[in-house]
């Protein structure tokens, strides 16, 4: 079985769960002996984007930590493109301008790196340019099936499938409704819809998302299957408390994710405010970046709890491990979360979790505390309980950790392989 897989991020160039999921899935497929050609957009100038900047500053050591085990059956093909998974057209525009400005500055180096590469002026044409280049790449490849991850790659998937006559699988990790609430971007919605309808089979990461695409995108339920994500075993290293401004006897409650509407940062802060009425020796750590970052900082200040909330910015690799090691509790108050890999990583690091009921991961986790994202009182109630009752923290962490060990990417990959086979038979 050979798969032509279209993605848009992969470790270490990640900004969220999609890259982690693609990594876990392809690695497991590699073990199963499925050959994968993984196409992904890269743009070296993205060193100037917020999170990659961190990578540059954090030295190459961090990159090395992310080096994959040799993936025998996975080949990577990259397309020079500034596409980023969680971007918006505005951000994209700014980024292009930045890139061009930089290019003029370092003219020699840039032209060396990219030659006469043309970056399309807006995000949508870029999506279609990615499709065109991917189709070109596909011409040289032998494969049985096309597998496209999330909307940016759907036009490419449709094109490659049409040209090669191979079945198309689209894999929905999130939808426009998750990212933008009810204020969807019509063009993105249209691309998503077209991809789902053109696909022979649709894979969603949860029943939550499956219901979503059936009701919101009019996709026939028969061709939609749920493949839950797995979790990557890291085996954490022993990290001591660093100079983080946190005392050892202070409890740490962690928010880790993009600071965007979808992730519910304001509910986290409102709950923090309530918790601090009850307990004093707690710090709330918000790890991640996103378009609500400034609002979150302002909100913390406005609530009068600025001194109790720390913003670390986007972390990756060992820094993520480190923050988990320090945390007593992880809270994910997502408004709409198709899956949510981070709680699994938290549990893997023996950190108990509170997750919103509006998430796909709550379908696979039993040993987690579950709340409605809007129920700030209940979130606070549960945070206090975990911090105050050691038996609860211990039981959640122990059973949760055990439970997470059973969520393996191999099982997800096997399910995908079965879906491939069914799609091939149908064709």
């Amino acid at each position: 079985m050979r798969v032509f897989m279209l993605g848009w991020e992969f470790p270490p160039f990640i900004s969220g769960g999609l890259g982690t999921a693609c990594y876990g899935l392809t690695k497991a497929m590699d073990h199963l002996g499925i050959e994968v050609t993984f196409v992904l957009p890269t743009m070296l100038e993205s060193a100037h984007d917020s999170h990659v900047k961190l990578l540059a500053a954090g030295s190459h050591g961090q990159t090395a930590a992310f080096k994959f085990d040799p993936l025998k059956n996975v080949m990577f093909r990259t397309i020079n493109s500034p596409l980023q998974p969680y971007s918006t057209p505005d951000v994209y525009q700014r980024q292009i301008e930045e890139t061009l400005r930089l290019k003029q500055k370092n003219c020699g180096l840039a032209s060396q790196l990219f030659g006469a590469v043309d970056y399309s002026g807006d995000m949508y044409s870029e999506v279609y340019r990615y499709a065109a280049v991917a189709a070109q790449l596909a011409e040289d490849e032998q494969f049985d099936i096309v597998h496209a991850h999330d909307w940016i790659t759907y036009p490419a998937g449709i094109l490659v499938a049409k040209m090669s006559g191979k079945p198309l699988i689209v894999h929905v990790h999130s939808t426009e409704f998750d990212r933008s609430g009810e204020h969807v971007n019509q063009m993105i919605y249209d691309i998503e819809r077209e991809g789902m309808h053109a696909a022979d089979r649709v894979i969603t990461v949860s029943h939550f998302t499956r219901n979503n695409i059936i009701s919101r995108y009019g996709v026939s339920g028969e061709k939609v299957e749920v493949v839950h994500n797995g979790v990557q075993r890291n085996g954490g290293g022993g990290w001591a408390l660093a100079e983080s401004g946190i005392d050892k006897d202070e409890k740490i409650v962690l928010f880790l994710g993009r600071i965007t509407m979808q992730k519910g940062p304001e509910y986290f802060l409102a709950a923090a405010k309530k918790v601090l009425e009850k307990l004093d020796n707690v710090k709330f750590v918000m790890t991640g970046s996103g378009d609500m970052m400034h609002r979150a900082v302002e909100m913390a200040a406005g609530l009068g709890i600025g001194h109790k909330v720390l913003f670390t910015g986007f972390l990756r690799g060992q820094d993520v491990q480190k923050i988990y090691k320090m945390a007593d509790l992880y809270v994910m108050p997502s408004v709409s979360e198709p899956f949510g890999i981070a709680p699994l990583e938290a549990l893997e690091n023996n950190v108990p979790v509170i997750i919103s009921k509006q998430s796909g991961v709550s379908e696979v986790l039993k040993h987690a505390l579950k709340v409605d994202f809007w129920d700030v009182d209940e979130i606070a109630n549960k945070i206090v309980a975990v911090l105050e009752y050691p038996a609860l923290q211990e039981t959640l962490a122990n059973y949760g950790n055990f439970e997470v060990r059973r969520l393996r990417w191999e099982d997800s990959a096997r399910k995908c392989a079965r879906i491939y086979e069914e799609a091939l038979v149908a064709v």
């Binding site: 309530k274 039993k366 505390l369 109630n381 009752y389 039981t395």
Partner: protein
């Protein structure tokens, strides 16, 4: 001779309301949920089953006999939410064919943590049963049939009891039959009645299971199995939850019809009869001693205590609860003591069980919480509040009387007003 000895456990816990760490009042229980469940079970089980058994008793003119253990927390709820059920129990008591057993009033695990508290609760239960039904219990059963040698010794030393019951678990019997009377190890007078779990569970658990090779279970077939005990024992102890009738096994499974026809088929055999536990032990002497050094119960396949004390949360919650005993009793406030005792009901700890949580099963059916974690958090929040009340009351009133609320026979006459409790002083 094969005597059939039926004993039905009748119990409903007082479920806690959603109580957060930010709550400050002392209303711990969910009156709405408790009353609606109580009324639902009354209509589906208690009323129809009581009427049916009353009917059978009258029809067989004394030849059909049964026993009940009614917990104090159930009786209080019936009084408030479904008093007509109490009247039917009263009618059953009047027949003279029904025996009432003793247990801890609050259906608690107090034997494991405080002997004083245990004895107080048993005495309170005995007094309540005597008030309501005019008979003093002579046979003891502990919560969930939890049992060991020490319990038997303690119960014998209390002086009130002729016998005690527990599960006829294979590992304590060691190839002996549960259909005899035994002597607890270390006791000289007390007798031991053992549940025949195989035949009991045929009714309680397997009755409606279509995958069971013996389905459908008819009264005739079951009576035949009972008659097989002839020559290999005197008594078949059928111990089960009363909610088996209409609640665990729904009416349309035919469970009521099964019961209606059972006496007829059992009594067809001239050697068979029905006896209450007290009658059984008056008729037969112990054949052997049973040694139970380790605690057993009637729960799950493990027949141990892991359903209530199997994880860190459960053991933490119950230790914290009993750690308060001294303070609660010193505070001397009646409502604080009663609230503390209501928190001892074993169900609160059962809800925290993680044993089969991942698979979802029978444990889930009885659980008002979404998860064991939610139940632990709720319980601990309530306990935190109770603890703070102890300290504030200790300062206030030293003269207050201890827990003396008692249900009285007069409460049954229908004029039960706001105050459903009659204080004995």
């Amino acid at each position: 001779m094969a005597s059939v000895c039926f004993y039905f456990q009748v119990h409903q816990p007082l479920r806690l309301r959603h109580y957060t760490v930010f709550d400050k009042d002392d209303r711990y229980f969910d009156d709405y949920k408790n009353s609606s469940i109580c009324r639902k079970v009354a209509n589906k089980c208690y009323l129809p089953a009581n009427r049916l058994l009353l009917d059978i008793i009258r029809r067989y003119e004394g030849r059909f006999r049964i026993a009940y253990s009614l917990t104090g927390v159930l009786l209080e709820q019936l009084l408030s939410f479904a008093p007509e059920v109490l009247s039917t129990f009263d009618a059953l008591a009047e027949t003279g064919c029904v025996e009432f057993l003793a247990e801890t009033y609050y259906h608690s695990l107090s034997f494991l943590y405080s002997r004083d508290e245990f004895i107080e609760q048993v005495n309170k239960h005995i007094e309540t049963i005597e008030n309501l039904f005019g008979q003093k219990p002579r046979v003891f059963r502990n919560t969930e049939l939890i049992y060991n040698n020490d319990l038997a010794a303690l119960v014998e030393s209390m002086g009130n009891f002729d016998a005690i019951m527990t599960e006829g678990a294979d590992h304590i019997l060691d190839f002996r039959s549960p259909n005899f009377i035994y002597r607890p190890n270390g006791c000289s007078k007390l007798k031991l009645l053992l549940k025949n779990y195989s035949l009991s569970d045929d009714i309680a658990f397997r009755f409606s299971n279509r995958a069971w090779s013996e389905w459908p279970l008819t009264a005739e077939k079951f009576a035949r199995w009972i008659s097989r005990a002839n020559g290999n024992g005197y008594v078949v102890n059928l111990f089960m939850d009363y909610e088996t009738f209409g609640e665990h096994q729904w009416k349309d499974t035919g469970i009521f019809d099964f019961m209606r026809h059972l006496p007829e088929h059992v009594l067809k055999h001239p050697d068979n009869d029905f006896k209450t536990p007290s009658e059984v032990i008056q008729c037969y002497e112990p054949v052997d001693t049973v040694d139970v050094p380790h605690l057993i119960s009637w729960a799950d396949i493990e027949r141990d205590l892991s359903a209530w004390l199997g994880n860190a949360m459960q053991s933490n919650a119950i230790h914290e609860l009993y750690r308060l005993e001294k303070e609660v009793k010193k505070a001397g406030n009646e409502k604080v003591i009663t609230d503390w005792r209501k928190l001892q009901t074993s169900d609160h700890f059962y809800y925290m069980c993680t044993k089969y949580f991942a698979d979802g099963d029978v444990h889930k059916y009885f659980n008002p919480y979404d998860s064991p974690y939610d139940s632990y958090i709720n319980f601990m929040n309530v306990l935190g509040n109770l603890s703070s009340r102890c300290s504030s009351h200790a300062a206030l009133d030293k003269t207050n009387i201890a827990d003396r609320t008692m249900i009285h026979k007069n409460d049954l006459t229908g004029q039960a007003t706001e105050s459903t409790f009659c204080r004995l002083s």
